[in-house]
Amino acid sequence: MAVLVLAEHDLGTLSASTARIVAAAAELGAVDVLVAGEGVDQVTIAAAAIAGVAHVRVAQSAELNGLSAEALTPLLEHLAPDYTHVIAAAASVGRDVIPRLAAKLDLMPVTDVIAILGPNRFERPIYAGNAIETVTSNQPRHLLTIRASAFRPAAQGNAALIEPVDASGVVAVARFVAAHRTEGDLPDLSTAQIVVGGGVSLGSAEKFALVEQLAGKLGAAVGATRAAVDAGYAPNDWQVGQTGKIIAPDLYIAVGISGALQHLAGIQGAKKIIAINSDPEAPLVKLADYALVGDLFEIVPALIAELERLGVKR
């Protein structure tokens, strides 16, 4: 038996997390990827190129644009009997559709999986990552969402078989009204190797640009705390934490972030943490690998200049 991975994509581009989800899914069986929507040729080609993918199944229908749960659920219900596991990234589409599908199939899903211990044994964090649950499912089929940040991406260089799936009966209920996208060409936050995060102590959206400048210097993605997003200094899709994005970069640089439990939940997977903060007692200063205590408005410009002087360029 095989496993089915639902591909997340936007504006004709396959989500960067897909290669990681495929790598995780490959631990469970032969991997098929489902690509749903209209005008998904590039997405299909990108999915077929991921090592370990056997088939890319393509459901072409305008009703599937926007990947709404109401439209995807009957399609996945129809495909599920062919698979032992149906898997999506623990991101907005997967989180939206997998529980709905689970209820329809009368199954308990296992979500936000961070480790696969066997075909039916998984680890998932609870309480904002302050505890890890090991669960066994004895159900006939397993519905999972997986945290991309917990797995390494599968290699590229494959030409999986592409086959159409009948989507003629699929009907979307929700009508698209508008999208508000964050402009810019920063790396994808969930899968970035380096992330620079800013807190509410930046003080304004204008000053938050300092964090973006440091990120630009390092070729890093930009993250933010909930308080910084609530205050309007950063867009919502930059939020890192229990309710935002979960990141696991090789290097996380926290600028003016004290380290609330909810923020720490999002950065536990970071390999190295650097903290810049005026408060030597801040939780993040204490758990960082390197911390510099002082005024961030002096430190960050000086750091950018110093990196410039050292010829750092990425």
Partner: protein
């Protein structure tokens, strides 16, 4: 419009939980409990719709032990009209919760069910979507804005790339994200008045729902400890640490 809001009593979000030594779960005895923060945003959204003349009745439902009365009273103090406690001891899986809420929705026949997008204890983020599936209603998850337009809703959702706004017909299920609104703190007069509002206690058995767990929790472990590092003394030392890390990345 009639709104049903589901609320959960959880370990207060500011409490740093500890895993029990026998690894059977986290310590919840003698720990401060309160309404799941996301559910507060759901209650606030319902009360705001009522104040705007868009909703005429708000019914609160919670599933949990007797003490879950407290979180229902909090919601009633915020402005909801009546409450239902489905009394249940021990841990319930999200699928069982969704089935109980489906039974409650079948009885109450609301036009809209509002819930928090996730509970901060098990962080599942399942119940709203499951309930919508069981009811065969449209769903709008992770809502940061709700507008009544014609006979339906326009909901702004927080998603991977930013925000998206969708239009859905009623009846529907909407799950609240934290930027939906600022939940009010009810003053003492409202808290006193809440005690006069109807609150029905029902036993879980009345609903005839299969609540047997599907997953076995083998153990609950503490996360790996991070070792604190060192304080560097200046920008040049920090820059050196960063460039050392960067050169490690290059070699990967």
């Amino acid at each position: 419009m009639k709104i049903l809001v589901a609320v959960k009593r959880v370990v207060d979000h500011a409490v740093r939980v500890r895993v029990r030594p026998d690894r059977s779960g986290v310590e919840t005895d003698n720990v401060r409990m309160s309404m799941n923060p996301f559910d507060k945003h759901a209650v606030e959204a319902a009360v705001a719709l009522n104040e705007a003349g868009r909703a005429d009745e708000i019914v609160i439902v919670s599933i949990g032990p007797k003490q879950a009365n407290d979180v229902i009273l909090t919601a009633l103090a915020m402005g909801a009209h009546r409450g239902i406690l489905i009394e249940a001891e021990g841990r319930l899986e999200t699928l069982a919760v969704a089935k109980l809420l489906k039974a409650a929705a079948d009885e109450e026949r609301p036009d809209l069910v509002l819930l928090g997008k996730q509970a901060v204890d098990d962080d599942s983020n399942h119940v709203g979507q499951m309930l919508a599936g069981l009811l065969d209603w449209p769903q709008a998850t992770f809502a940061s804005g709700i507008k009544v337009v014609g006979n339906g809703l326009e909901v702004t959702r927080e998603v991977e790339f930013g925000r998206t706004t969708i239009a859905i017909p009623l009846p529907a299920v909407v799950t609240a994200d934290l930027r939906l609104n600022m939940p009010r703190n009810a003053g003492l007069p409202m808290v006193m008045r809440a005690r006069q509002k109807p609150l029905t206690v029902r036993s879980i058995a009345e609903f005839g729902v299969d609540i047997a767990p599907r997953l076995e929790i083998e153990r609950v472990s503490p996360p790996p400890e991070r070792e604190g590092g060192r304080i560097v003394t200046g920008v040049s030392e920090l820059a050196a640490a960063i460039t050392a890390e960067l050169s490690q990345l290059e070699t990967l």
